[in-house]
Symmetry: C2
Subunit: 567 residues, 2 copies
């Protein structure tokens, strides 16, 4: 099915029934209502006008419905990607200018093209280099930065910065300018939303409401706050007292827009676009897989890349900004009973109606309210327990997550996540450059060989068997040379060295040369080198090489055979 | 022996006899004569006045004799490091200025400090990330660039560039300005030196000379050419016909000099100094280990770093430039019968006498002659057979060496070697991100399990055993999830999955979370997950984790036990 591979819609479209349609429609109505305040808020976070948030939810959802493989994923603006968008663009153009909005389109186009390319060339594995602890640390730190960046709206002051330090200093400097009325609205809204999450949920559950319905009820919190504060500003004319409001929003379907393809701009956006693509993909795929596992459905990572790529290119040409599959909106979709991507398409239609007809209703919506919804949403992302769990498991994982958190908070999202990935790779290489090499002996009465330091085993003074617990490659080839040399130099009785290769999954060219060196050096000392339990693929590689011809000893299928033959 | 660890001189100094002294003195005389033209030539290559080459051979040799562990290594200017020095400095200051010589001192000081620090903190393993094929490719490409850079001296023209492309274009542009007399001297000298290498050696060996003596005779070639061409220029006044000569060289012991420690300069030199340190260390340690193996002596890599660090710092304060242990000079030392580092100290005294008394003799030495000695020396480094051998072994190794050669030739030494290292690491990570996972079965009548695709084995339809041939870490954790999911989803009869972990040398935090995910998903499908042959260190790590408590199956010491218990 070459076409069905790129168009999953052909698979689920064939079995679409009236019952499915009903479920999808109900889910779409619920999700549309939830998405309106969320979309406006994330546009604000990305530094864009509010309508961009609506536009970014319409075409992308439709395109994902055609190309994506998850049946429940809801694509649109999400918190972390919006923060990364703001961080990337603020370095290049001034916020609030026309150039800023165009650069956002370019960022979405570039990121979409990268995702598409990774999908077509099946390079989704790149995302695997983001380790779990690095992602957790990054999301936690981003949540804190996002919350801090919204405090200015809550207090009605000015503040800038894309890391915690700059933000904190700037907030402190402008603190005396706090607008009392804005702060009252902002703090009340935040407190109410926290209560909805922490107090309302248990209360409803005590009343016997199901988890799904409770989840939906809780998620209407932002809608209630938006309506209440908008009405309050309108009734009491609070905008005249300095409360900043959303104001005029054009009544329009998503416009056709053209990203800038200036080479200078694209060059500057290259790294941010790559990071946004990877982070967005990882966030989206984990949500998709979690939801799919609940219904025994399969997700194809490469096809997901194509779906997200199409969604971002859609955003770029319809006045949006970078999007991805969001956790909270997808869960709402799932809880509301969506069955196919058609639910997403219906949601898009709902949002299009909102963009066309309902924008005058949000004229008086205070920005502080949007900030409150963001703060409450992102604080649920903050989870420092990853530090404790990683510490308990291994120092390397702990170091990677700690560095990611500190660098993201201190120096911003791009440096933070890059450093986290770099550090995990370095630590992994460091570990494999000093592999565990165990001297093993036979467990009496069995054919098993175990570490002489951990088990009661039989050994022979003329024979030493070293089990190398790592693939042999350039970073540890010389370490093995030293190890064998040290073991043999101190023991004059030795006549045979057996390298047990049961854990050697690969031997690269550098390691092959090191094995030749070891063979030559042992030969000069009158010691023979043998190999045992070499794996099939490794043996295939060695077969035609000079090393096998010059090897002084033999190669044995099992370590037990090796010991019997040598005796 | 805490002091003897840092001062190997205390070890060999204790057993120094009169016979050893005689051998060392003879070796020193021979090496001194060889080193004079070589030192002058490499100073020229580095873009420095000729005396810098002599100075760079005196203090460094002495300091290495005190701190180094190799008994035969000769430290001083070498071709590749001199090329890297010229490439690094030309980007920063203009060649021929006072600032250039001072920057060379700073480069040596910085590189020395880095080597010392790596030695003290036992970080020599960093050099292991330079794989054999990358080094071979880099040395080959550097040899070609060096040879090309000397053509201008052979022809008596001007040309610039630090990669093959720039050099070639520049040479072509200036070709019409060729000085006939210079070209005659240069080409004759080159041809003679090639004949000495290719023609004289077999002739002498046919006459029954030993390999050592032949080697020494061949290496006097440059001395002969230097004397002959100097006399020719002096006799016939060829300098008046445009032959460029060495000219006035101060008669002096190495001067005390002070490197610049300007932060801007040091910042610019940071990366080049690091690359020079690593390349110099790798070159030096392989020479040292090759020679030590011939006499069953041990080399301590960390102490070698300290020895080379001290040598470079010595060069920085005595008018030199970056140095390392050279292959050709060390082999001369070895062939001439040097027994201890004292031979090196005596060579240093010989060179000091030369710097003090003999420099007027080289006034008429043509630069074309020095260029000829460089060309012939470095072309022996060029060896494209590495490409063929790597191709024959594995595509990844071939790709790394090809990229290193092409990028070094096309973009220069710094980019070339960095790209080679980066690419080897990426290819290694890519390979380990898609590990070999074999489904295994029991070989009848044994306790051995082998790949069902390669061997005739017994299997049970209710049980599948997957042997994972790689450590589990972030880059392949998700791959394992997909693999297990795909195998189980298509086989309704399955009740047990056993992961045979005999080749799993490490499980990091990301992989632990993936194992938990696999366990949960299998549980939902009514399939139990078991582990077998988990290694000691891995088991230690898992012991206290939540994963073991939630595991639906068991952990077995051997795969054979696992199958018996499950049946």
């Amino acid at each position: 099915m070459p076409i069905a591979r790129f168009l999953p819609i052909l698979t689920w479209g064939k079995t679409y029934t009236r019952a499915t349609l009903a479920n999808d429609l109900i889910a779409a109505v619920i999700v549309t209502i939830m998405l309106i305040p969320q979309s406006l808020a994330y546009a604000l976070l990305a530094g864009l006008p509010p309508e961009a948030g609506l536009y970014a939810s319409i075409a992308p959802i439709m395109l994902y419905a055609v190309f994506g493989t998850s049946r429940m994923l809801a694509v649109g603006p999400v918190a972390v990607v919006s923060l990364m968008t703001a961080a990337a663009l603020s370095n290049i153009v001034e916020q609030g200018t026309m150039g800023y909005a165009v650069a956002a389109l370019s960022l979405a186009a570039l990121s979409g093209a990268m995702l598409l390319a990774m999908g077509i060339f099946r390079m989704g594995f790149i995302a695997n280099f983001l380790s779990h602890p690095v992602i957790s640390g990054f999301i936690t730190a981003s949540g804190i930065i996002i919350a801090a960046s919204q405090i200015k709206h809550i207090l009605g002051i000015d503040a800038h910065g894309h890391n915690l330090l700059d933000l904190g200093l700037s907030l402190f400097e402008h603190l005396p300018e706090t607008n009392g009325t804005t702060a009252l609205i902002g703090i009340t809204a935040t407190a109410f939303l926290f209560w909805v999450r922490k107090g309302l949920r248990p209360a409803l559950q005590k009343l016997g409401l199901g988890a799904g319905l409770t989840g939906i009820a809780v998620k209407t919190g932002p809608v209630v706050v938006v309506i209440a504060t908008t009405v309050a500003v309108w009734l009491f004319g609070l905008d005249a007292r300095g409360v900043k409001i959303v104001g005029d929003v054009p009544q329009s379907l998503p416009p056709l827009t053209m990203p800038s393809f200036s080479p200078t701009l694209l060059g500057q956006l290259l790294l941010p676009a790559f990071l946004i693509s990877i982070i967005g993909f990882v966030e989206s795929i984990s949500v998709a897989q979690t939801l799919a596992a609940k219904k025994r459905q399969r997700i194809d990572p490469d096809q997901e890349l194509i779906g997200l790529g199409a969604a971002n290119i859609g955003a770029a040409f319809t006045g949006g900004f970078p999007v991805t599959g969001g956790f909270s909106r997808s869960v709402v979709n799932f809880d509301a009973g969506a069955e196919t991507p058609a639910a997403g398409a219906f949601t898009a239609i709902g949002l299009a109606i909102a963009a066309l007809a309902l924008t005058p209703l949000i004229f008086f919506l205070p920005k502080a309210t949007l900030a409150a919804t963001i703060i409450v949403a992102v604080l649920s992302l903050v989870d420092f327990s990853i530090l404790k769990r990683a510490w308990h498991y291994s120092f390397a994982d702990f170091a990677a997550v700690l560095a990611t958190i500190i660098l993201t908070l201190g120096l911003g999202v791009e440096i933070g996540v890059s450093a986290g990935v770099g550090l995990s790779i370095l630590l992994h290489l460091y570990k494999s450059s000093r592999p565990h090499i165990a001297e093993v002996g036979l467990i009496a009465g069995t054919q098993h060989f175990r570490n002489i330091k951990r088990h009661q085993v039989q050994t022979d003074p003329r024979v030493v068997t070293l089990r190398v617990d790592e693939s042999l490659y350039f970073a540890n080839a010389r370490f093995l040379e030293d190890c064998v040399q040290n073991r043999v130099a101190s023991d004059k009785a030795l006549r045979h060295v057996i390298l047990q290769c049961s854990a050697v999954n690969d031997i690269d060219f550098s390691a092959l040369e090191s094995l030749e060196t070891i063979n030559t050096r042992l030969d000069e000392m009158g010691v023979k080198l043998h190999l045992s339990e070499v794996k099939g693929p490794v043996m295939d590689r060695l077969r035609d090489q000079h090393f096998l011809k010059s090897l002084t000893g033999n190669i044995y299928l099992s370590q037990f055979d090796a010991l019997n033959c040598i005796k």
